[in-house]
Amino acid sequence: MSFSSFAEFVAMGNHGLYVWSAYGISLAVLILNVVGPLLARRRYLQEEARRLRREASK
């Protein structure tokens, strides 16, 4: 462990803003890349479910 306290870890030796904003933005984009396809998949399956119901009721 290269930090002696949690506050020191957050401060990152005065570079906290840079380090945490870099990691924050990166993490947000990575999550976006996972959530995007998952949502697209759900939307597609919902569409297909509607289509199947329509065809079944006909």
Partner: protein, 250 residues
């Protein structure tokens, strides 16, 4: 030599089954490796003697930049496979990988700029690596724009394949010319990633992060490709029953 395994790779049904088995493994590996790498790099690796703690951005910047570059090569390889063997799955891979690569390039640029602020004192320096990454982002934009502009799915994939192959031949030329331009216009500055022999305790978390980000890429790529394959094969019987099963479960 028996090439059936190669063409089996091109079968959407086979791909869908196998990728369904692989996907959870990649996802778990990515989560584990990225988690371990992040904690290790952020909390346990020693600070840099020159840059202090701001150097910890390296643990996201370099793996992502690595991935962004190899992803473009992957596009060209997929394009070549699609053009030569007419494997539709390669087309799917090309079109699904391009946006991921563009996002990775974006992260590399943003983290590079943020890192530049404490290191160089400005957000943006026309440093050879940053400039090359910016050009790479433009190359990705070109491929994505071309793919979306052409309505016909197959010719869009082929056109993107040609562009990706021309681009990948160009990348080394661009890289060397940008480096040459940089050395011409700037005195040799302190570069971000080239350090005189990184010590082991700094280098290991980086390795973990690189592996993690590649697993992440594999997982997201498979996720996107599986949806696209399902869409394209929606009329075939296996896809129909798969969709029914998925819809029924939901």
């Amino acid at each position: 030599m028996n090439w059936t395994w190669f063409h089996k790779l091109g079968s959407p049904k086979w791909f869908y089954e196998v990728s369904g088995r692989w996907l959870p493994w990649f996802a778990v590996a990515a989560a584990l490796l990225l988690g371990v790498g992040l904690v290790w790099g952020l909390a346990f690796a020693p600070p840099d003697y020159q840059q202090g703690n701001s150097f910890r951005i390296i643990y996201i910047h370099v793996p992502v930049a690595f991935l962004a570059q190899s992803c473009y090569v992957l596009l060209a390889v997929a394009g070549l496979v699609g053009l030569v063997w007419r494997i539709k799955l390669a087309d799917v891979a090309l079109q699904c990988a391009a946006p991921i690569g563009a996002w990775m390039t974006f992260i590399a640029l943003v983290t590079g700029a943020i890192w530049g602020k404490p290191t160089w004192g400005t957000w943006w320096v026309w440093d050879a690596r940053l400039t090359s990454m910016l050009i790479l982002l433009f190359l990705y934009f070109g491929i994505i724009a071309l793919g979306q502009a052409i309505a016909n799915r197959d010719s869009a994939a082929k056109a993107c394949a040609v562009l990706a192959i021309v681009g990948v031949v160009n990348i080394p030329i661009i890289k060397y010319s940008v480096e040459w331009w940089n050395s011409l216009h700037q005195p040799a500055t302190f570069t971000l990633t080239e350090k005189p022999a990184m010590p082991m305790e700094m280098w290991l978390p980086m390795l973990v992060m690189v592996l993690g980000i590649y697993c992440f890429f594999a997982a997201v790529l498979l996720l996107r490709m599986r949806l696209e394959v399902l869409r394209r094969e929606a009329r075939s019987s296996w896809a129909k029953s798969e969709i029914k099963a998925l819809v029924g479960a939901a």
